[in-house]
Amino acid sequence: MKFRLPFAPLVALRFLREGRMQTFLILAGTTGGVAVIVFLTQLISQLQNQIVDRVLGSQAHVVLRPLEEANRRAIDDQGFASIIEPRAQRLRSIDQWENIARLAGGMPGVTAVSPVVTGPAFAVRGQANKSVALMGVDAERYRRIVRMEEYMVAGRFAVEGTHTVIGTELAKDLGLRLDDKLRVAFPNGRDELLQVGGIFDIGNKDLNRRWVFVTLPLAQSLLDLPGGVSNLDVTVADIFEAQTVADRLRGATGLTVDSWMQTNAQLLAALRNQSVSNNLIRSFVVIIVALGIASVLVVSVVQKQKEIGILRAMGASRGMILQVFLIQGAVVGAVGSIFGSMLAFTLLNVFSAIYRNADGQPLFAAELEFRFILVAALVATLVGLLSALIPARRAAKMDPVQAIRS
């Protein structure tokens, strides 16, 4: 059996097909509008994700510390957060940190908790002498805070005994390679000979120079913090819920609790402003596209006056005529969103091939989320439908006699 369209879609599609040039222009406009919106939204959301990823690449989502300790984080002039730790006079431990770690781990939204012992030290090799931050961690647990294994350029991120994992800058400064020996000295007079078991590049020179990872027990004994930890690093499921989780943790533990959102407040504000201006642009584009669709359909209604009169004379109701023009708007929106998404995908690919990071990686991935295309298509169809409302009502109200007489 042949597929037959019902009256309104049949006439709507035929009218669109008949008005070649108009349909082409209105479709081109809608396609361009959808492409701009999809491209811009995807680009900005990907860039924002990348910035956030980068910031969080070397940072815990939430950090718990003893109350008095006054660690600060700040944003350097590139907009990236780095840890500026004042030389602690005396390291303190979180009281009963095992209990608190367990409590934090059981909190909704928390996916990982890792104890960290950190304190200042000097890395010494021959004549060279560098100020570093000793990081005592359980490698297995710490990986769920900072994905160290992804940053390794030599060896593995695993510490045991007197093995250490250091950054590329420190390795370069001290001329260290895998399995080389490195002495660390402490203000309290202790020192220890470590063996380089891994070298990382975390994408931040400062951290590549400062971080020296060892086992938790070794750091505890070297920093005179037996059985204690200086902070608990926490990973949350939804990064933008980090503040909520931090507030909850502060309430439950009474400790100093900072989320990445607090420590990067300026960056977040900048991202938000970007989103606001993006929304503004999107709204304008939507309005312009809607006006375009509406104006072309208004002209089409006038041109189709005679046809509308004929259809009405043959028994088509006002409602049926209304539908014919509403469907035209919706179809233009829907088809425009398909072409627009395709155009946006092409643009994303072109731009991601042209614009690259310093390391040659694409600045953003040329990806389009299917869900997002679906939303864009729905919105475009709806906008088309609404834009057609005024022309469609004009068409429905038209006097059939006037149309037939002329």
Partner: protein
């Protein structure tokens, strides 16, 4: 005999309530029986098209009574009027008013699509049969622009017949055709009138064609000046 339409004192004024109010029809009494084939003649501007539009339920009268198929149309809603028009009246206009975006076949199917929402095999077969009857089966899949004026008017006649209406209203159906083609179109209408017993009211300027109708109604200045039967030959 049952009346297909019945008009009593029907009036139509334009721009009512304004200084330029003009009454075009000043009380028309007319009754058209089933199967009747009547010509509506009269000088240009006498109100023939206006009368046809009123009878065709495209416009509402400003006075008097109008019944179509035995139903008084004064109190029925706009939507019902539209439905009644679609079901019981077939129009043929002077300028063949076909839908240019649709093929001849689709144009003939359109009243059915409007009435039922969607076409089916049966409607298509019937439309083809109608096109065959007006001698255009071979042109079924052509667009109106590909047809001559006479062919277009024949498609319009087939379309008017699609729902087998009780009444055909034709406003100068042969007005812009040559005499030979006009005769053919007229003969077609006559044939359908004979076969289906539908009433026909045909506006024409051609006295030759009017003389071949059963009855001639002459309109002058919005009044019926003459209404007489044509003696059959």
């Amino acid at each position: 005999m049952t009346a297909v339409i019945e008009l009593a004192g029907l009036r139509k004024a334009y721009n009512q309530g304004t200084p330029v109010e003009t009454e075009v029809l000043h009380g028309i009494d007319l009754r058209l029986e089933e199967g009747e084939f009547a010509a509506l003649i009269g000088p240009s501007g006498s109100g023939k098209s206006t009368l046809l539009n009123l009878i065709g339920l495209l416009e509402r009268p400003t006075g008097g009574r109008l019944s179509v198929g035995g139903r008084d149309t004064a109190r029925i809603s706009e939507a019902e009027l539209t439905a009644l028009r679609g079901r019981s009246i077939g129009f043929v206009f002077q300028f063949h008013h076909l839908l240019p975006a649709f093929t001849a076949l689709e144009n003939v199917m359109m009243p059915t699509i409007i009435a039922r929402g969607v076409a089916d095999e049966e409607a298509e077969a019937d439309a083809l049969a109608l096109l065959d009857a007006v001698g255009l089966k071979a042109h079924a899949y052509k667009k109106p622009a590909q047809l001559s004026g006479g062919q277009q008017q024949r498609v319009a006649i087939a379309r008017a017949l699609a729902l087998r209406p009780r009444l055909i209203l034709a406003d100068e159906p042969t007005g812009n055709l040559d005499t030979h083609t006009a005769d053919e179109i007229f003969a077609l209408l006559r044939a359908f009138n004979r076969d289906s017993r539908c009433a026909c009211l045909i506006v024409t300027h051609d006295p030759r064609l009017a003389a071949r109708c059963d009855r001639i109604v002459r309109l002058v200045d919005g009044r019926i000046a003459e209404d007489r039967a044509v003696p059959s030959l």
